[in-house]
């Protein structure tokens, strides 16, 4: 039984995750071999997922790490001074 395009579209996500049952996966694959529209949908979706997951597209703001660790250091210092069993030299 051949799949129609619109049924193939329902399987795109699971096809990409390789989580379709074997028989359906095979039918989808067969359809893709003969349908350039569905192949283009699959390829473009996959491509978009790769782009959105590509860390190189996004970058950290300059100084992000320094600011984060400085803030954490303040928090850690404050929590240490609340911790009497572990006295620090810099305690006041």
């Amino acid at each position: 039984m051949a799949l129609e395009c619109k049924h193939v579209w329902d399987y795109i996500s699971e096809f990409l995750d390789d989580s379709l049952p074997a028989e359906i996966k095979e039918q989808v694959q067969k359809h893709l071999e003969n349908c350039e529209i569905c192949s283009a949908i699959l390829d473009s979706t996959r491509n978009i997922l790769i782009l959105t997951a590509d860390d190189r597209v996004f970058e950290l703001p300059a100084g992000y790490s320094e600011r984060l660790h400085a803030r954490l250091a303040r928090e850690i210092r404050a929590s240490n001074s609340r911790r009497p069993e572990k006295p620090r030299q810099d305690q006041d």
Binding site: A40, T52, P61, L68, I76, R83
Partner: protein, 211 residues
């Protein structure tokens, strides 16, 4: 992303956490280092600008530090951290009142279909092929335009790369809901982005396309 992405797998995070809880608090700096980028990236998917995303990320790391004693080790530290960051982002959105009611957002037919953009052929677009700033703006806008229930699933699964099960548990929804929402999110993104990406301006002379 070389430094920030040092493989966390080779580290014994459970041991680091135990040491931190036993008083070696400074170790927390090292514990979170591999996740600085991913928590920021996640925050950026929810809020409108970089400054806010940084703020949300900082809050998430602080909260995780304060709550570290509640981490039970049933999930990976990274998964736990992601759900804290998610909550922080939600809190921020709620405070801004920018979250619309989900019921209004949700397409009328829950089981209804989302149709993809129909294109005749697709040549893979590597991220280097496009101007980075333009690509970033396109992706960010498209993700931002997803309604919250789809965006959350997409971000956890396809950006933070949680498993379907981890995504379900972080969002307290069923596995089948994750699959349905993920499918719809991906197709909506394809529909929105595929035509735009095909027309996006390639880097000088590197990429001539559209047929």
């Amino acid at each position: 992303m070389s430094v920030a992405h040092a493989r966390p797998m080779e580290r014994d995070e459970a041991q680091m956490i135990a040491a931190i809880l036993a008083g070696d608090s400074d170790l927390y700096h090292r514990l979170i280092q591999p996740y600085e980028f991913s928590v920021y990236r996640m925050a950026l998917s929810f809020v409108k600008n970089e400054a806010e995303a940084e703020d949300v990320a900082q809050e998430a790391f602080l909260r995780a530090f304060r709550d570290l004693g509640n981490f039970r080790g049933e999930s990976k530290f990274s998964t736990w951290l992601v759900s804290i960051a998610l909550n922080e982002a939600r809190r921020r959105l709620r405070r801004q009142n920018t979250v619309r009611m989900e019921s209004l957002d949700e397409p009328p037919e829950e089981g209804g279909k989302v149709s993809p953009a129909l294109l005749r052929d697709w040549r893979e677009i590597p991220s280097e092929a496009l101007e980075r700033r333009e690509l970033r703006a396109l992706l960010q806008k498209a993700i931002e335009e997803l309604s919250p229930i789809y965006r959350e699933v997409f971000v956890l699964r396809d950006i933070e790369e949680l498993s379907i099960e981890e995504t379900a548990s972080a969002l307290s929804i069923s596995i089948s809901s994750v699959k349905v929402r993920l499918h719809r999110a991906r197709i909506m993104l394809q529909k929105d982005l595929a035509p735009k990406l095909k027309l996006a301006s390639p880097k000088k002379g590197r990429w001539l396309s559209w047929h």
